[in-house]
């Protein structure tokens, strides 16, 4: 602490002690200081106001200087000592005016704002009146008047009103710290709130101990009561009187606290994220558009046009289950519904034909399209054309309509189908992709998808590093640096995930993308796509589709790596309900210590 030369020093010899000197923040307090010398050996006076951080109230350093009788000579530092003291808090930054108000009421002082100095001073009533008198003498009558009315607002009644008030305190803690808290929830079955109170109550107690000596006995008792009441919240136990509904509402709190969920609204997702998710899903549909003859069920450009028409369905929802050390990442919604209005443009009808045929024939594996007419007439036409060429479909037993409709259209039937479609001007389209109802096996049989495969979510194991500062995602450390390991790991997961969606999982193409590109480039070097014979053209087009898919997987892997890293190295907002009078006591500790450290240390020590 540096001492400006203009500060006045006082020195006094106390028996058995060296010279004690106090650094004062205002000359007039010098007189008050005199009154504190009652002859006892250990009287010390504390001044937090000149400290860099006014709320650092745990310690004060007293310097002892030998003053020369000759004026102008620099004092000689003889001795200094640190004291852990109860502190009279007298100055706060303006941004902490709410805390200042509480401490004012606790210490029977009055908060006076000095906006020019960006501070709030806590003054006694006499000090306020003196300040008001000085303002009046300098012609600031209005300000002086305001000051004189202030003491009326800071009285016993004001304290009692403050005392029973509740408020919220919001803190940001690192996601790994939140995870650690939820592990504790899982281990103890105590709600998160109970655990947090156990962690933070000792901090509040510590602050209270520091100021206790400076507040009157009854106020101290009330604060003590408030702390006890706050930390007394217990984990809910089912009692005989509780009916099911009442117990359920308590239990839901514990269940909800066992997982950590966060999501981003579509507007919060980056353009890259949305584009890459869309590209991946489009390329997966295009991959499933490849038929058994090395060609396509539908012209790829039509499928692309359809996919480009619909809005992206990117999403980001992360759910973390600390008890099972799992993280699930949802990155798209597989359902879209939208209206399509068709103009006279032939391209529009081509698109409508694709949708109608796909709804009927279901060629593209796991793509579920349904159309509905927007008018009763439109719906009737749709029903009629979807049933074309189904009346001759026979078989043992009843055949469901959708299976009848999968029967190929005859040439005449196709003509009538098109004619009917062209009379429908607008439709509601519902699309689900992927809609994996059944997995197709190599022997032609079908089976249900494994339970653990959920087709818009990827799962990872999630744990904490030894120092609990970062996450390990499937064993890969997640810190602020980009991780190629994580990109490749996500890529593997996406490919595995995609394999189940592919029309024939056992033939899922896994080429070397570099070699594949070379093959395509070398073929196109010889000739353009249009000049190749049909078979070669189809072959190259299929290879380009496969390459496009793998490129989209790589792009999406990078995007998901960025997203996961951002979420797992970010922070979570925690809102704590607590008595308003205790909030500044907690703030006293939080200005000195990191809340993550407080929480982790407490949990390590057993809460």
């Amino acid at each position: 602490m540096s001492i400006p030369p203009e500060i006045l020093y006082k020195h006094s010899y106390l028996s058995g002690h060296s010279v004690l000197v106090f650094c004062q923040w205002e000359l007039r307090l010098f007189d008050d200081l005199e009154q504190l010398f009652d002859g006892s050996d250990n009287v010390v006076w504390q001044d937090a106001s000149r400290f860099h951080d006014p709320l650092r109230v745990t310690r004060v350093r007293i310097h002892a200087f030998l003053l020369s009788r000759d004026s102008g000579t620099t004092p000689t530092l003889m001795w200094f000592r640190d004291y852990a003291l109860g502190v009279m808090l007298r100055e706060f930054p303006i941004s902490q005016r709410a805390d200042a108000k509480v401490f004012a009421l606790l210490q029977n002082l009055i908060p006076v704002e000095e906006p020019d100095e960006d501070r709030v001073l806590l003054l006694t009533k006499d000090e306020v009146m003196e300040k008001a008198a000085r303002l009046r003498n300098t012609g600031h009558d209005q300000e002086a008047y305001k000051l004189t009315t202030l003491p009326d607002s800071y009285n016993e009644e004001a304290f009692r009103s403050l005392f029973s008030q509740m408020s919220t305190k919001t803190v940001n803690i690192r996601t790994p710290t939140m995870y650690r808290i939820l592990m504790e929830v899982a281990d103890t079955s105590e709600p998160r709130d109970v655990i947090l109170r156990k962690i933070l109550a000792p901090q509040i107690d510590e602050s209270f101990d520091q100021i206790r000596a400076d507040i009157d006995i009854e106020k101290a008792r009330l604060i003590h009561f408030s702390i006890d009441n706050w930390k007394a919240k217990k984990k809910p136990e089912r009692t005989e009187e509780m009916d099911d509904a009442e117990w359920k509402s308590h239990y839901q709190e514990i269940v909800r606290d066992r997982k950590l969920e966060f999501s981003r609204r579509r507007e919060e997702l980056s353009e890259d994220f949305r584009m890459n998710v869309k590209s991946y899903l489009k390329n997966l549909v295009l991959l499933n558009n490849i038929n058994d003859n090395g060609g396509f069920f539908y012209p790829p450009e039509i499928v692309e046009k359809f996919w480009d028409l619909i809005s992206d369905n990117a999403a980001l929802e992360v759910v973390i289950y600390p008890s099972s050390e799992m993280l699930t990442l949802l990155f798209y919604y597989n359902h879209r519904a939208f209206e399509l209005v068709f103009e006279e443009d032939p391209d529009d009808f081509e698109l409508l034909e694709f949708l109608g045929l796909e709804m009927r024939n279901r060629r593209i594996q796991n793509l579920d399209i349904s159309l509905r007419g927007l008018s009763p007439k439109g719906q009737r036409i749709l029903d009629d054309i979807l049933d074309i060429d189904t009346s001759d479909v026979t078989g043992g037993g009843l055949i469901p309509t959708q299976f009848k409709r999968m029967h190929e259209l005859s040439e005449e039937g196709l003509g009538r189908f098109r004619d009917g479609l062209y009379t429908i001007k607008d439709v509601m389209v519902e699309m689900n992709f992927p809609m994996v109802r059944l997995l197709v096996n190599e022997d032609g049989s079908s089976s249900n998808p494994p339970d653990q495969i959920r087709f818009n979510r990827i799962e990872f194991s999630l744990s904490l590093s030894e120092d609990q500062s970062i996450f390990l995602l499937d064993g890969i450390p997640i810190d602020s640096h980009p991780s190629d390991d994580l990109v490749f790991h996500i890529q593997k997961k996406l490919l595995e995930f995609s394999r189940f969606i592919y029309r024939k999982p056992w033939t899922f193409p896994l080429p070397d993308p570099v070699k594949l590109k070379e093959e395509i480039d070398s073929t196109l070097d010889e000739s353009t796509l249009d000049n190749l014979d049909e078979d070669r053209r189809k072959e190259v087009a299929c290879k380009m589709t496969i390459l496009g898919f793998h490129n989209s997987v790589m792009q999406l892997s990078r995007t998901l790596e960025v997203a996961l890293r951002r979420e797992l190295t970010g922070t979570q907002e925690l809102t704590i309900v607590m008595p308003m009078v205790l909030t500044p006591l907690l703030n006293m500790q939080l200005t000195e210590r990191d809340i993550d450290e407080i929480i982790l240390k407490s949990l390590e020590e057993g809460g």
């Binding site: 009692r160 029973s164 509740m166 408020s167 919220t168 009330l222 009561f225 408030s226 009442e246 809102t575």
Partner: protein, 176 residues
């Protein structure tokens, strides 16, 4: 003189106090609320809503409320669905449109569903206050109070403050 209405979500406050072991407050809740509310004006409404099938956790709670001038209204209940929140909300809306609308509404609850009611009171230029059980005050309700500059108080801390000021010295000690 300002007027005050007190509207109590009976089950919410009774269950909260019961879980917190605050039997002393449960047996004197009517007196405590009266004593506290009187500082804000003349109390013209004192209403408690509970489900028709609800049993107070401590015998004597309803007696105390009735003795202190509260109307205890038992609302029809449907299986798995209580309607008391809606009834209280609708009652407050009715009062907001009445000629003798209170200047201040004191809602005794911790349920976040009432944040909509607080907005409505604010839109009608009336003051409101929430009094709830410390441990079951919902954070969103508190945040709405902060946003609208309404006070939110703990019934336990009110009770202790009243005791401390020398009034109601016959309150039984709380049991934990």
């Amino acid at each position: 003189m300002d007027t005050v209405g007190i509207y109590v979500d009976g089950m919410n406050i009774d269950l909260g106090l019961s879980h917190a072991g605050e039997s002393g407050i449960q047996l004197n809740i009517g007196s405590i609320l009266n004593e506290y509310a009187e500082q804000f004006g003349s109390i013209i409404d004192r209403i408690v809503h509970i489900d028709e099938t609800y049993d107070w956790r401590i015998e004597g709670t309803e007696t105390d409320l009735v003795d202190n001038g509260f109307d205890v209204i038992r609302d029809e209940r449907f299986p798995y669905k209580s309607l008391t929140d809606f009834r209280i909300g609708c009652q407050i809306i009715d009062r907001l449109h009445a000629e003798d609308c209170p200047d201040m509404f004191i809602l005794v609850t911790g349920d976040k569903d009432f944040l909509v009611v607080l907005e409505y009171i604010d839109q009608h230029d009336r003051r409101a206050m929430i009094i709830g059980e410390s441990n079951s005050l919902a954070a969103p309700l508190l945040q709405k109070c902060q946003e609208l500059e309404f006070d939110c108080h703990s019934i336990q801390l009110i009770s202790e403050s009243i005791k401390s000021s020398g009034v109601l010295t016959q309150l039984p000690t709380t049991q934990r």
